[in-house]
Symmetry: C2
Subunit: 110 residues, 2 copies
């Protein structure tokens, strides 16, 4: 998929498996790959690992090594911090659209 820096976050969040990984990390706290893989009967561990690599690349999750385990934890602030400004922008657009409607109504009244 064609994408850019902003789009990379959306692209990561577009996949339901990755969102489910984020949900699990959010609800249960830090987990390793095996624990996560156990929640996805239809998937194999290396697939989960691959998704985690992508999530790490965008900074949405971070990993702490504990012996031979990688303990993954969500950086929920990163998720919200990255998306919130974008959402604010479109809220502003909503307001702008309302203003245009109001202007149009005024012009109609002329």
């Amino acid at each position: 998929m064609r994408t850019d820096a902003t789009g990379a976050l959306f692209k990561i969040l577009a996949d339901p498996t990755r969102r489910q990984i984020l949900d699990l990390l959010a609800e249960r706290g830090p987990l390793n790959v095996s624990q996560l893989a156990a929640e996805f009967p239809g998937l194999v561990a290396s697939g989960i690992s691959k998704h985690l690599m992508g999530l790490r690349a965008t900074g949405l999750v971070q990993a702490d090594r504990d012996g031979r385990q990688q303990i993954y934890r969500i950086d929920a602030a990163k998720v919200t911090g990255t998306l919130a400004p974008w959402l604010t922008k479109y809220e502003r657009y909503s307001s702008a659209a309302l203003e245009r409607l109001r202007d149009a109504a005024e012009n109609d009244a002329d």
Copy 2:
């Protein structure tokens, strides 16, 4: 890309061309395909049309027919309305993460 209903919105927003289309519709108000295509020198009109079909399918834009023209307008409220609950959820997760940290600190103090 594997996706679901929620993911469809993220997937749509992942593409920079589609986000730029949304921005144009938000900043300038409703536009037709030709007007939009004029803003994308590297793209051909049918490509824009294709993106608009996707945007329509998710409800992010709507079209009003005016003779042989299709006038597209953004439904910014749909954008924010769909994303906001999702964002709220992860803000709650952020709080949950903080609580876990606090609990862990208390346990350490035992």
